[in-house]
Symmetry: C2
Subunit: 160 residues, 2 copies
DNA sequence: ACCACGTATCTTGACGTCAAGATAAATGGC
DNA sequence: GCCATTTATCTTGACGTCAAGATACGTGGT
C-alpha cells in the first residue's frame, strides 16, 4: 500500500465508476521520475552544474571531437524549445564552459564548442552521474532491469 | 534502435569505459515522462486547466465531501514546496475554482474549498483525464501493464 | 499568565521553461 | 540577378517552480 495506492483507494470510494489501472501506472511514473530527478540534480549540483547544463555539455561531449554542434543540432537532440536552448547556451557561455564560434559555412548559424574547462567539467561529471544512476537502479536484478528497460522501450516507441 | 540507443552508442564510442545500462533505463524514463506530460497537459488545457491546477482540484475532489483541505494537507499530498502551493491556490482562487475559508479551529490556517464551479470543472476533467491515460497505455496487454506497474512500484518504494 | 518554541502559511527573488514572434542569412524559381 | 520563401537563431513576456526567510498564530512548561 504505497502513496499511489492510497490515491487510487480515494478515487475508488469517491468515483467507483473510474477505471484506475492506467492512473496507477501514470502516477507511479510521475512520482518516480520526480524523485529520480532530485537525486540526479543533487550529484550534478555538487559539480556546479544544473541538469539542464549537463544535458548540453554531455550532448557535446558524446558527439566526439572537436566537441562542436550548432544550436539546431543540440535542439534536435534534447526535447526543449529553441528559446530554452538559447538560454542554456547563454548560461554555459557565462560560466566559460562553452563558447559560440562563428560558422564559416553559414552566417545564420554558430557552433557551440566545449571549452577546455567545459570538457574537464563534463568528463568529471559524467563519471559521477553514471555511478549515481547505477546506485539508483541497484535494487533491481539484472533480469528486472532488462524487463523494465524493455517495457519502457515499448512505451517510448509510442511517441518517437 | 531508438533515440536512447543512439545516445548510448555515442557514449560507447567516446567513453567505452562507462557502463550504460542504468543510463538507458533512466534516459527512457525521462524521455517517456516528458512525452506523457505533454499528452496529459493537452487534454487538461482543453478544459482550461494546467496539470498543476488539476492536481490540486483532483486532490480536493478525491478527499470527499465537503471538498476542503488545508494548504498543509494539500502540500503533504503533492510533492511541491509551500511557495508553489500558495501560488497554485492563488491561481485557482483567481479563476473562481476554489476559495479560502477561515479555519475556525486554528487562525494560522485556512481551508481550501472547491467552489461549485471548481467541483464541476474537476468532475468533467477527471473523466477526460482518465480516458486519456487509458488511451496512452492501450498499447500494452493486461499482463504487460501489470508487469510495468509492479516494477514501478518496486522502484518507487526506494524513495517513499 | 508568560514566553520560547513549534507550526501553518505566505512572500521574495532567482531559475528554467515555453510559445510566439523578431531578425538575419541562405536558397530557389523565375 | 532578384525577391519570396525557408531556415537558424535569438528575443520577449508569461508561467510554474524552489529555497530561504518572514509573518502570524498556537502550545506547553514553568
Amino acid at each position: 500500500m504505497d502513496r499511489v495506492d492510497k490515491i487510487l483507494a480515494q478515487w475508488k470510494r469517491e468515483r467507483p465508476d473510474l477505471d484506475t489501472e492506467a492512473m496507477g501506472i501514470m502516477g507511479r511514473l510521475k512520482r518516480l521520475t520526480t524523485h529520480l530527478a532530485r537525486e540526479v540534480d543533487q550529484v550534478l549540483q555538487q559539480q556546479g552544474l544544473s541538469s539542464s547544463s549537463f544535458d548540453v555539455l554531455a550532448t557535446l561531449r558524446r558527439s566526439g571531437a572537436p566537441y562542436r554542434l550548432s544550436p539546431g543540432d543540440l535542439l534536435s537532440m534534447t526535447m526543449v524549445s529553441s528559446g530554452t536552448m538559447t538560454n542554456r547556451i547563454d548560461q554555459l557561455e557565462k560560466a566559460g564552459l562553452v563558447e559560440r564560434v562563428l560558422n564559416p559555412d553559414d552566417r545564420r548559424s554558430v557552433l557551440i564548442a566545449l571549452t577546455e574547462a567545459g570538457l574537464a567539467a563534463v568528463e568529471t561529471a559524467v563519471g559521477l552521474h553514471v555511478a549515481n544512476q547505477q546506485r539508483l537502479t541497484q535494487g533491481f536484478s539484472a533480469e528486472e532491469k532488462e524487463q523494465l528497460d524493455g517495457l519502457l522501450r515499448k512505451f517510448l516507441a509510442t511517441f518517437e
